[in-house]
């Protein structure tokens, strides 16, 4: 009896193996799932969340919404964000060394010391550069969430690639201005047509 069950089990097992072969055989003729990158692109890039970018004011496309509160630089877990600014109205000093420039970010350990910039009404200031060191960014999105004026957004730059660290150190203010110039050029070009 035992031998008989042994044999029937073996035959059942072999049939099971044939079923497996059938599945791979069917899959063989199904269309490919691979999306060949340089030739085709994936369709879900719209939801991609790249590095952060500044958002321009609606009325002034060259100026960011940023009020230079420093909250993003403070909350950033990897201290990617730093900015340079000057106090408004004082930029016309004779020598640049005398210009009162404040740097927020890397140098000053804001996250740990709990230091905060005085509110914008107390000292009015203007942005010189908004630096993002994307090498350290972990894309957590805390800065975008904490921004009180919605001046930060995620870019859709999914094919970002570079060969050196320098390629990933961005001045977001410059990027914003270049972007708006480019878009205004294209719109004027379209209007001319």
């Amino acid at each position: 009896m035992k031998i008989m069950t042994n044999y029937s089990n073996a035959i059942k097992g072999l049939l099971g193996l044939l079923k497996g072969l059938k599945i791979t055989g069917v899959e063989f003729f199904k269309p490919q799932l691979t999306i060949h990158y340089p030739r085709k692109e994936v369709t879900n890039l719209a939801t991609y969340r790249g590095h952060i970018d500044l958002v321009a004011k609606e009325d002034a496309p060259l100026e960011p919404k940023c009020i230079i509160c420093g909250k993003c630089a403070e909350v950033c877990p990897s201290a990617c964000i730093s900015m340079e600014m000057h106090v408004k109205g004082e930029q016309s000093f004779a020598s640049p060394a005398e210009c009162r420039t404040i740097t927020v970010g890397h140098g000053i350990e804001i996250p740990f010391s709990g230091l905060r910039l005085p509110p914008a009404e107390v000292i009015e200031r203007e942005l010189d550069s908004f630096n993002l060191d994307y090498n350290y960014c972990s894309l957590c999105g805390l800065c975008v969430q904490i921004c009180p004026v919605g001046s930060l957004t995620f870019s859709k730059d999914s094919y970002l690639a570079g060969t050196a660290r320098k390629n990933f150190e961005f001045d977001l203010l410059q990027r914003l201005r270049e972007r708006s110039r480019r878009s205004s050029q294209t719109t004027t070009a379209q209007e001319k047509r």
Binding site: L21, T24, E27, F28, T34, H36
Partner: protein, 329 residues
Amino acid sequence: MMSQLLSYLSLPLVHLILSLVVILAFLGVNGIVLIYVERKVAGFIQRRPGPYEVGPWGLLQPLADALKLLSKQLVTPMGADKILFWAAPILSFAPVVICFMPMPVSPMFTGMEMNLGLILILAFTSLNVLALCLAGWSSNNKYSLLGAARAVSQSVAYEIPLLITVLAIAFQTGSLNLSEIVASQTKGIWSWNIFVQPIAFIIYIIAVTAETNRAPFDLPEAESELTAGFHTEYAGMHFGLFFLAEYSYMIVVCAVATVLFLGGWHGPFLSGPFWFILKTYALILVLMWFRWTFPRVRFDQLLNICWKWLIPLSLINLVLTALLVKIVR
């Protein structure tokens, strides 16, 4: 002039050398084709394109791979037995060439007609085990050693059912000459041995899968257990030779299966060699299909299948064949 050339051709030695050259060329091309086909089959089963970038449809990919292997440095690990380490890949590939000599590709086209062709092939395919054993032992690597130990016990075990099933076919035909075995199957498709001896065919396929170390019986090179088994330490063309040998053995066993079970060159419309190659490659495709479908069996299970199932079954098959042959004659 022409007749003189032809008379030279009929000299046994010239014939031998010529067929050796042809076989070597064929094996090289075969290796390259099979690598491409295997990767494409794997790709399609897994719903990917497989090789794609080099050449049209990736056709030049195996050539690129071969070039890469050729240009790589041959490294001998510290503490390895240098001579054996270098000899093993060559020893693994060399016997395959001889295995093709008695293969009846068509009624007119055989490397060397011999009465004991089947025995010759079986004898020389077994030499592969020695190469694997040497490779594993001489590399001075623990994984290689384990792989070699597995290879030896596996091949020794699977030699037995293989021999017994082949013997049953030989009983039935009354000859060990491969051409005669094919000639006995030319009375229509139902005279093929796969229909006369289906059990023998199944045993043969299982045994040769194990014999050629193909998945699901690829234990000597079980990747997830022994990293790469016996060829862990091999790089460059050393590894390339093992690879070539693996594919060459595949085509040897599939060609033998074609001869023994699928009627060799027999078939309608097309001429002999076409049918022969068609059947051989179809069988190889089936082996590839196995590989990309099944998990690996465990080592003791592998030996259990052999000793508890295949050997008794093949013995029963042999006895039945002998009885039937006795009654019919």
